[in-house]
């Protein structure tokens, strides 16, 4: 049966998982304009049965992008994102940004992309450079940076949406030919200065990101990327074969913006981390080192180390004898990764799907937060069918491509890197120590006392804004309402009269966990309502939540309020928070289809901070 007929058959028979697997495979085989519309129309039929993250994207552009849209929507669906796209009018981006009543703002995007070419925004620097005097070059650079600055500023005044700004690309054939490289400033210097300025503009605003468009073109080669005929006839500068690459680059931003990222990467060992089979080839026989083919495996290990530094957890899942595998992990001279880089390991002869479930449980993440890397297509197929929510990375048979395949995967992209991300991987190794300590205590209370926990509650500040927003976006398990807020929204909420946004930082004898909790509350008449209350899964089950709640209670009482109310909105993930209100003496007041409303009478109840948590309250500046 043809794949398309098979897909339609699966959809008709109600097998949404099978259908979406076949759709993803079809896209993997032939990504392009030809199948994009088919894919999108079929994914649309799966809307009711499969969970997609809906996202509204506005494209502001100076050139024809229409043919990219179907590719982008198809690629986004494969990544679990249901995009609604608003395409701004051709070259009308300045008006659309500056006019508060434009269709851009009435569309209410979650994210906007500003894609402007150098030749459109700075024509004199693109093809008139040889005529320019140095002071005209300087003036031109300043003018372009100023324009972007005002566009970004005005956009932020009118919209809390994320904004992705393309950098300006460099001319492949400078006006002065080889003389350009000898000139000061050269034509590409001038554009580089604008790009420096753009970075400063973006960094000055929350939720504004830069896409290095020049690097994207360079990766594929300007002479292949650019299609002069299409540019002259249809104002479409990109060759047909490369439209997909622009769509994929945008997805590297949209995946982290929609939270569809992987938190952990589970890797196989034999023929993935090294060449050969350790149980048969032995330490001498496996290929791993600075020479080919061992160098290809080292390159992959280097890519994994980079993920580890970004806070992505690594885990091993291998069918092997434990001693053989550990011998290589611990002692092989070619290994860049060592056992301490892995937050969990399953090395046995069992089923990989079972191992993956155990790894997810051990790391306190859902299986949908796992990515899986294995050279064996059969293992990959089994995981795809048994655990469709896992991101299975497709590998070609050539190890030289493995490192780039991992680096290209959008699920490992991060748009901000907090101190917590950098430290996370060490938390997990101290966490292993902590669980061992827990087992040696006879009572929970003794264990809690031994932790010497210090919690610090503070209003959100400019310095903590990114992490607070990140926690609302990423926390699934201990989260009472699962309301997601972007940075500008947090700033706006904190400014509302009667509202407060606080974060919780936790330290214990094993180290500093960083910011791990967020609460958002507001006064409503004589009562205080909890809008958001969440804790990172790393610190669940050690009574920090009671300490945090005790602060909210005291704060509301001090403000003269008589009741504390809060909703529990159940999701597929937040069962760990289900009994939170009941455990702390709240009574259920009402419920509807979305969840239940709980209330605590502040005149009667007291919520004590557990004696083993030292609670400090800090003042702070609003962001």
């Amino acid at each position: 049966m043809q794949p398309r007929e098979e897909i339609d058959r699966l959809i008709t028979s109600g097998d949404a998982t099978g259908a979406s697997r076949c759709l993803a495979e079809l896209w993997q085989r032939e990504p392009g304009s030809a199948v994009a519309s088919f894919l999108t129309s079929r994914y649309e039929k799966l809307r009711g049965t499969k969970h997609f993250t809906a996202h509204r994207l506005a494209l502001l552009r100076s050139f024809t992008l229409e043919p990219v849209v179907p590719l982008l929507r198809a690629a986004a669906f494969v990544a679990g994102i249901d995009l609604t796209v608003h395409l701004g009018d051709f070259n009308a981006y300045p008006q659309e940004i500056l006019d508060a009543t434009s269709s851009l703002y009435s569309f209410a995007p979650d994210t906007a992309i500003l894609a402007v070419q150098t030749r459109d925004v700075a024509p004199e620097l693109w093809d008139g450079y040889a005529d320019l005097k140095p002071d005209a070059v300087t003036a031109s650079i300043a003018r372009v940076i100023d324009s972007f600055q005002s566009w970004v500023k005005v956009f932020r005044q009118h919209s809390p949406a994320n904004l992705i700004v393309h950098t300006l690309e460099y001319p492949p054939t400078p006006s002065l030919g080889v003389l350009d490289a000898q000139s000061d400033p050269s034509q590409s210097d001038a554009i580089r200065q604008i790009n420096h300025g753009l970075r400063a503009v973006c960094r000055a605003h929350h939720g504004v990101y830069l896409l290095d468009y020049g690097a994207l073109i360079a990766r594929h080669g300007f002479s292949h990327w650019h299609d002069e005929t299409k540019w002259l006839t249809a104002r479409m500068p990109i060759a047909a074969a490369h439209l997909i690459h622009l769509a994929q680059e945008w997805l590297r931003f949209l995946v982290p913006l929609t939270g569809r990222t992987a938190k952990a990467l589970v890797v196989d060992l034999d023929n993935t981390l090294w060449g050969g089979v350790i149980g048969e080839d032995g330490m001498q026989g496996v290929r791993l080192g600075q020479e080919y083919p061992g160098a290809a495996y080292q390159a992959l290990q280097r890519a994994l180390l980079d993920l580890h530094r970004k806070g992505i957890l690594l885990a091993v899942c291998s069918k092997n004898n434990l001693e053989d595998a550990m011998e290589a992990l611990e002692n092989h001279p070619g290994m860049l990764l060592r056992p301490e880089h892995f937050a969990a390991m399953r090395i046995n002869w069992g089923d990989k799907q079972q191992s993956l479930r155990e790894i997810a449980a051990e790391l306190n993440v859902g299986t949908d937060a796992l990515a899986f890397l294995d050279d064996n297509p059969i293992e990959r197929a089994q995981i795809r069918s048994a655990l469709p929510e896992v991101t299975v990375i497709e590998l070609s048979g050539d190890p030289a491509t493995y490192a780039d395949t991992v680096r290209d995967s959008p699920v490992f992209e991060r748009l901000t890197l907090s101190e917590e991300d950098r430290l996370r991987t060490t938390f997990y190794s101290t966490e292993q120590e902590r669980s061992r300590a827990e087992q040696s205590f006879t009572s929970k209370e003794d264990f809690f006392r031994s932790l010497e926990q210090e919690a610090e509650v503070a209003p959100v500040t400019p310095a903590t804004l990114a992490r607070v927003s990140q926690l609302t976006q990423k926390t699934n398990q201990f989260n009472l309402t699962t309301r997601r807020y972007r940075e500008p929204q947090i700033t706006e909420i904190a400014d509302r009269p009667g509202w407060q946004v606080v974060s919780l930082r936790l330290r214990d004898r094993y180290g500093d966990h960083g910011l791990v909790g967020v609460a958002i509350t507001h006064a409503d008449g004589t009562s205080c309502e909890i809008d958001t209350f969440l804790l990172s899964c790393r610190v669940i089950g050690r009574t920090v939540e009671s300490a945090f709640l005790s602060h909210l209670v005291e704060h509301a009482r001090a403000a003269g309020l008589t009741a504390l109310r809060g909703w529990f909105l159940p999701t597929r993930k937040n069962a760990p928070a289900k009994n939170f209100f009941a455990h702390h003496g709240f009574t259920q007041e009402s419920s509807n289809g979305d969840g239940s409303l709980w209330v605590l009478d502040l005149q009667k109840a007291r919520i004590a901070c557990p004696e083993w948590v030292k609670l400090r309250i800090l003042p702070g500046d609003k962001p």
Partner: protein, 83 residues
């Protein structure tokens, strides 16, 4: 059995214009296919270039008024390239 150029063009047209393959014939054109406007025409041309790995000049792009025109043009280009 090899797929004919017509079948491949029909499949591309069916995808781009969102019409079932049976609804596409050699005489399908912007006159009788709802979504065949100037922008979809560009997408159609790009998809053909991608599918058959060839370049269509502006004049050739202009000449494609019906699905049959595209089939004829691509057959000629493939033959000229010895493919």
């Amino acid at each position: 059995m090899t797929t004919t150029v017509f079948e491949r063009v029909r499949s591309v047209a069916s995808d781009v214009f969102g019409v079932a393959p049976e609804g596409i014939s050699a005489s399908s054109s912007s006159e009788n296919v709802d979504r065949w406007d100037s922008i979809q025409h560009l997408s159609f041309v790009l998809a053909l270039e991608e599918t058959f790995q060839l370049q269509l000049s502006p004049e050739e792009t202009e000449r494609i008024r019906k699905v049959g025109d595209a089939v004829k043009l691509i057959e000629e280009k493939l033959a000229a390239a010895g493919r």
